[in-house]
Amino acid sequence: MNSALKLVIEAPVAAKLGMIIVLLNVLAAVFAPVIAPYSETEIIGDTWEGGFWDSEAPEHDPPALLGTDHIGRDLFTRLIYGARNTIGIALVTTMLAFAVGISLGFLAATLRGSVDQIISRSVEVLMAIPTLIFALMVLSVLGTEVHILIVVIALLDATRVFRISRAVAMDVEVMEYVEVAKLRGEGLWWVMRHEILPNTMAPLLAEFGLRFCFVFLFIAALSFLGLGLQPPTADWGSMVRENAEGINWGIIVPLFPAGAIALLTVGVNLIVDWFLHKASGIRDIE
């Protein structure tokens, strides 16, 4: 724990900034009902009322800081609940994608031969189909419930995770310490868990950060197209879509959820960059 704290303190400014952004988002997601002044679906006023910048906007108590959305709900409240839904789903999806991708990738790298061929070729078939179109197709057939959404996106993303984990595991697998473990009579699972995984952690963690961003951008894109999370659930992607029309009237409301997406993406990437740098640094010393 001490060393983790030290790591954070010694991190460069950019990484710290990223950590603050991510932390704020996580806090918002966890304590959404406490922080948010209204409930997720409560209509408090007229369509697209102005926020703190507009002195002529109608008064509310508590005040509607960022104004209201296209049907008069408090935008600030929606943003906070949006963080909860967007980040939560993206996190679960990414973890599922990694669990599947890493397991298959390590299996392919360790067993090689026909196992590798079968998994790799199947993954290539999946990767050959454009992700968005594939997701749209599957979701319109199976429906847009949250768990289906998670499984579909996770499986699509697992193909990318498989690629990278197979590649890094291949590098580690040829090391003599893996040979030693095999000759010792260790089982497949033990070798994967104790010899390969710890030595592939750095690139995989970095990839996790990136994938996480891609996933919630993907969910946002799906929501924007109407196949992601369904109303009245707040998520940033659908909030952009619902309010997009407002731009035509000079209403800046859609920029807030869009900005939240951008901010979190940048934040996560700042941390990922730092991880990558550290990972490559370790390689230099070795």
């Binding site: 090391m175 003599e176 310490y177 040979e179 030693v180 095999k182 000759l183 010792r184 009579g185 260790e186 104790h194 010899e195 710890p198 030595n199 952690m201 010393i285 070795e286």
Partner: protein, 547 residues
């Protein structure tokens, strides 16, 4: 010509490590005359390579030249601008690295890389440079000098590539060449050819050279003077002959004596009982090329069988067959008279336990993310079901056996020196309480004094525990030091085997003779003598040396 070519004065170089600057070279001075060869020797970490490249005005990334002057023919290389240095490098000072294979660009033909330096520096045009390459290849004794330049680096052998690299360094007739361990990566028999070529070439062109190596015997063949370094300090400098015959410092004497470690055998119960018998093994890697042909050998209890041969002789493949990593095509392996399954996957755990392996590169044989206690503790847990305190106590005991303390338990491999890593590998093998340990070039990557310590440890353990070794090596000095039986391999076949003294006493098999005579001796006249001997062997058609 009375002015020295290179004068280094009080050179101090620091390296950045663990967030601070540490001294690598602490005020070393040297001077080198035109046409003179200075040998720089020392163990790894002595700062010899750092001094070598500093004389070109270069410091590796993470290193800096702090003070001192490097005067090369009137130019201070430590102060000169990057442009000035670029004019000098390659033209007046050239560098030959340890691994030619890693220094050549595999995507270009040799001649393209040869001509690059003279053409870029506008010393000569492409045509002239190409002609020059042929002349130099010829003087380097490379086969088919007219056309060899058209080949790609992977199409010539390691020794030839190293010679091509020396030729390349000489392309602009430099005043000074820095040789950084140019023969270390080569087989003994190939090393001689490269050594002879280098010696002739620098003598002929009257080039000065800094010859950096850790092998005193090698350097004594080529250097006029020798400088001994340790921990970035000069130990002593002197004429070659005087250094070999009458060194002043203890450290130099220690370096000279490392080749002798032999001990007497202790009484071991059941000494001489057959443990492992390899019978008529033939094996190949997927592509159908036979790597082993009809190989047989036997290891008895409490003894050390050394398998010697050059790279490509199939000695490591033999180890892979025995451990079951490479199932043989024909033949069988008996362990205590019982046949072993061809693949390790089909062997019971207890059989796996009884044959352990120690590798050449302790770096890659240890998982960088496992602490020492986990590395050694895992076999205890797996084979003997030890847990908690019992495991800890046994790990401690094993650490004591390998002469490391309890405080090593929580260290990661990156916190150990090369010798300590190899000791941990030995402890891991011992943890399984094996009867046979296969040692694959376990000392090749280590410094002489460290290697000596490891060999001594292995011998002590044998006397203590009665374990047998199958000792694979290309280093005949090691073989002489520790083996009871010797198996000589050449191109996948066993050419000669028998008790150590029998193999080492003449008359030898012709190939054994070649191998034995190629081991450098601490005698400045040795190289000339051995070249004569080789001509005789060649005349008798024993081995084709110009491969």
């Amino acid at each position: 010509m009375s002015e020295p070519l290179l004068v280094i004065k009080d050179l101090v170089i620091e390296g950045y490590q663990e967030e601070q600057w540490n001294g690598i070279v602490h005020g070393v001075s040297l001077s080198l005359n035109r046409g003179e060869v200075l040998g720089i020797i020392g163990e790894s970490g002595a700062g010899k390579s750092t001094i070598g490249i500093a004389s070109m005005g270069y410091a590796r990334p993470g290193c800096r030249i702090v003070s001192g002057s490097i005067n090369f023919d009137g130019v201070d290389m430590a102060m000169a601008s990057e442009d000035r240095l670029r004019e000098m490098r390659g033209v007046r000072v050239a560098y030959v690295a340890q691994s030619a294979a890693a220094s050549f660009n595999p995507a270009h033909r040799i001649v393209q890389q040869f001509t690059e330096t003279p053409v870029v520096h506008k010393v000569m045009g492409f045509g002239a440079a190409e002609q020059k390459s042929k002349d130099l290849f010829k003087s380097m004794d490379l086969p088919d000098p007219e056309n060899i330049g058209r080949r790609f680096p992977h199409q010539v052998s390691g020794g030839q590539l190293q010679r091509a690299m020396v030729a390349m360094a000489m392309s602009c007739d430099p005043d000074l060449i820095i040789f950084d361990e140019p023969t270390t990566a080569l087989d003994v028999t190939t090393q001689i050819e490269v050594l002879a070529a280098i010696k002739d070439a620098i003598r002929e062109h009257n080039t000065a050279a800094l010859y950096i190596t850790h092998d005193l015997a090698v350097v004594s063949q080529i250097a006029d003077r020798i400088m001994v370094l340790r921990y970035g300090n000069e130990v002593e400098t002197g004429e070659t002959r005087q250094m070999i015959e009458n060194p002043k410092e203890d450290y130099t004497r220690e370096l000279l004596s490392v080749r002798k470690v032999h001990q007497d055998k202790a009484d071991i119960e059941g000494l001489g009982n057959d443990i492992l018998t390899v019978k008529n093994i033939t094996a190949s890697y997927g592509n159908g090329v036979r790597v082993l042909e009809d190989v047989s050998m036997a290891v008895t209890k409490g003894t050390t069988v050394a398998v010697v041969g050059e790279s490509g002789s199939g000695k490591s493949t033999t180890a892979r067959v025995i451990t079951g990593l490479l199932p043989p095509e024909m033949g069988e392996i008996l362990f205590h008279g019982e046949p072993l399954a061809p693949s390790f996957k089909d062997r019971p755990q207890d059989q796996l336990r009884r044959i352990q392996m120690i590798y050449q590169m302790a770096d890659v044989a240890l998982n960088p993310r496992q602490k020492v206690k986990d590395v050694i503790g895992r076999p205890l847990e797996l084979y003997f079901g030890l847990k908690g305190d019992a495991k800890k106590a046994r790990v401690k005991e094993l650490l004591e056996k390998i002469e490391l303390g309890e405080n090593y338990m929580d260290r990661f491999p990156s916190e150990l020196s090369g010798g300590e890593k190899q000791r941990v590998c030995i402890a891991r093998a011992l943890a399984a309480e094996p009867e046979l340990i296969i040692c694959d070039e376990v000392t090749s990557a280590l410094d002489q004094l460290v290697a000596k310590g490891i060999l001594k440890l292995l011998q002590d353990l044998q006397n203590d525990l009665g374990v047998s070794y199958l000792f694979i090596t290309h280093d005949l000095a090691t073989v002489k030091a520790i083996s009871d039986e010797i198996v000589v391999m050449y191109q996948g076949k066993v050419v000669e085997q028998g008790p150590r003294d029998e193999i080492l006493t003449p008359p030898h098999h012709d190939y054994t003779d070649l191998l034995l005579s190629s081991v450098p001796e601490m005698d400045p006249d040795w190289l000339d003598g051995v070249l004569e001997h080789r001509k005789e062997l060649e005349a008798r058609g024993v081995v084709n040396l110009r491969t």
